[in-house]
């Protein structure tokens, strides 16, 4: 066997050769920033907690989308289907006397996850436009079903008789949304830990390979479709969790969570910051939601127009979204510094 002169079997590899793989999962200071910000916001903006809650829910939803779209490369136009499934699950439970929020949350996650497993097994044979049609089709079917099943779901008026019990029996749902905000923050933390763990694991690495070149992964023996089905199911469970939390905090489920526009807005929030990055999901939603609140209040037409323009611009010029641009800036300034050094 050919051998590197400085290496022989049984030696530990030189640390720099494998540093990249080993150290990638280490926690850095920057990892704590979003949580500090979220916690600080609780104290600094006590009157804007409902906005904050909306952002937190959106972050969890976008995280779930990032898992399938950004990491696994499954382009879905209908991930809101699982959000809505989770929302209605928690909602229907709360209407019928099973109002414990955590129970509702867990059941919603399980229901959405199973739905993801079943639908993934069916539709993930397809790719490209056909797959997009499948995801859109299942979303629209669900929307129609929810619209028709008025007695269960409240139809187009939404589900509003939810009676959600106090969190852990202790904390009641207060008018300012303090309980709601903290609840969302904790659920988001759990959701994020799940996503980060998966992304850092060998499973997560293989997903990236599948997204980049599925044929290559097949050629090294990866059971590609099975893996995609699993990540689709996990992501569906996360989206369902986001939906359930949203329903419980507002004690209301609107039919529009099953609309194409809602799922599209999730994709938009994702691409704004850059798909395939853990923290993209933290940057997109605040910008989108705060901007939409400011601008849509001023003039909804104005908001829609500029949203469209920004979207076009991001796709045409800002590949990789905000984080991608930041990456390029960092690399560019590093290269500049190297050139200037003697």
């Amino acid at each position: 066997m050919l051998a590197d002169r400085t290496y022989s079997r049984g030696d530990a590899p030189p640390p720099q050769a494998i540093a990249d793989i080993v150290n990638r999962s280490r926690l850095r200071v920057a990892d704590f920033v979003p949580w500090v910000v979220a916690l600080a916001s609780f104290f600094l903006f006590p009157r804007s907690l409902s906005l904050g809650t909306e952002v937190l829910v959106a972050v969890l939803f976008v995280l779930s989308i990032d898992l399938v779209v950004g990491y696994a490369g499954i382009v879905t136009l209908g991930h809101g289907a699982f959000f809505g499934l989770g929302a209605y699950c928690a909602g229907v439970l709360a209407v019928n006397g099973f109002g414990d929020p955590i129970l509702g949350l867990m059941l919603a996650a399980v229901l959405a996850g199973v739905a993801g497993l079943v639908s993934g097994a069916i539709i993930l044979r397809a790719q490209g436009l056909t797959l997009m049609m499948f995801t859109l089709g299942t979303l629209l079917m669900l929307e129609e079903a929810a619209n028709r099943a008025g007695r269960l779901t409240g139809g187009s008026d939404g589900l509003s008789d939810m009676v959600v019990k106090p969190l852990l029996g202790i904390w009641d749902w207060d008018f300012f949304g303090r309980t709601g905000y903290c609840y969302c923050l904790v659920v988001l933390l759990f959701g994020f830990i799940v996503v980060r763990t998966i992304v850092m694991s060998p499973f997560g690495r293989s997903l990236r390979g599948i997204r980049e070149n599925a044929a290559r992964m097949e050629a090294i023996g990866a059971p590609v479709r099975r893996r995609l089905i699993v990540v689709y199911a996990i992501s569906a469970a996360l989206a369902g969790t986001a939906g359930a939390v949203n329903a419980e905090v507002h004690q209301f489920v609107a039919l529009n969570v099953l609309s194409f526009e809602f799922s599209a807005s999730g994709l938009i929030m994702l691409i704004l910051a850059g798909p395939g990055r853990l923290y993209g999901a933290f940057i997109g939603p605040p910008i989108y939601i705060i901007a939409s609140h400011q601008l849509a209040v001023l003039d909804p037409t104005y908001w829609v127009f500029w949203l469209g323009v920004v979207l076009i611009a991001v796709v045409m010029f800002g590949r990789g979204g905000i984080l991608g641009i930041a990456d390029n800036l960092i690399a560019w300034s590093r290269a500049g510094r190297k050139k200037r050094a003697p």
């Binding site: 066997m1 050919l2 051998a3 590197d4 400085t6 290496y7 079997r9 530990a12 590899p13 720099q16 050769a17 494998i18 540093a19 990249d20 793989i21 080993v22 150290n23 990638r24 999962s25 763990t197 998966i198 850092m200 694991s201 060998p202 499973f203 997560g204 690495r205 293989s206 390979g209 980049e212 070149n213 044929a215 290559r216 992964m217 097949e218 050629a219 090294i220 023996g221 990866a222 059971p223 590609v224 893996r227």
Partner: protein
């Protein structure tokens, strides 16, 4: 007498009027050093695609270690020990050399289904990846992104990725294609150092490598096996010369 570790019987496939495989019956023994040559368009890569399952045959069968795998999914064939490299490098250019090989080992050991511990904790896999990379002389560049390596080095990584799967049968699709002559010796060295019990089928245009590596050569022409034999027999064969070089002599090898 070895039983064939890879065998095709009457393999056939056509795209409309273009017949890429015409009743190909082929056997590969354990430990074989077998080359498949033929002019452009003879159907060599199509044959590899048929054997690995990327293309489904219209007729005939493929057997691996005695088992019929004709209907088996491509990824399962790989897990059963049938591996290939690609003619055009299809590595993950943004990942490091070691990480490309890591992915292979992770699949082999089913580590790729692990979702809890971070990839960096799987020391055994990481160390084996490094060992394989170093064993091919690429230890110094193990941490570099594949995209910045020279093309010859990339072709070596391509081989490393396949070797990491510990295959029983290895199909090498033009490993030296596009490699500058200064680097092709590297490829040949690696080929010569392959495990003895590994059955290798080499597709190549570089006759230098073919004649130095192969113990048996099969010549494919228009989807059909034209002739099969030892390197000397092939070199002396009139029909082969005609197919390759028209009327002239076979170039000095």
């Amino acid at each position: 007498m070895n039983a064939a570790v890879l065998e095709t019987v009457g393999l056939g496939k056509a795209f409309g009027a273009l017949r890429v495989a015409d009743d190909i019956s082929f056997r590969l023994q354990s430990g074989a050093r077998h080359a498949l040559i033929g002019p452009n368009g003879a159907g060599k890569t199509s044959f590899v695609n048929l054997v690995t399952g990327r293309l489904l045959p219209e007729s005939g069968s493929v057997r691996l270690k005695g088992n019929d795998i004709t209907r088996m999914a491509p990824d399962r064939r790989v897990r059963e020990g049938l591996c290939r490299t690609f003619q055009i490098s299809s590595l993950f250019s943004g990942l490091s050399v070691a990480e490309n090989v890591f992915l292979s080992i992770a699949e082999r050991e089913r580590v790729a289904w692990q979702m809890v511990r971070p990839a960096g904790r799987y020391r055994a896999v990481i160390e084996e990846a490094y060992a394989i990379v170093a064993g091919l002389g690429l230890g110094k560049v193990a941490a570099q992104a594949v995209g910045v390596l020279s093309y010859g080095q990339q072709r070596l990584v391509e081989i490393a990725v396949a070797l990491a799967l510990k295959p029983t049968v290895l199909l090498l699709d033009e490993p030296a294609a596009g490699v500058p002559s200064t680097e092709s010796a590297m490829i040949l060295d690696v080929l010569e150092a392959m495990p003895q019990d590994l059955a290798i089928l080499l597709i190549e245009h570089d006759m230098d490598i073919v004649f130095r590596f192969a113990r048996r050569i099969t010549v494919l022409e228009r989807g059909r096996i034209m002739v099969e034999g030892t390197p000397d027999e092939i070199a002396a064969n009139e029909d082969v010369r005609r197919v390759y070089f028209g009327e002239g002599d076979l170039a000095d090898v």
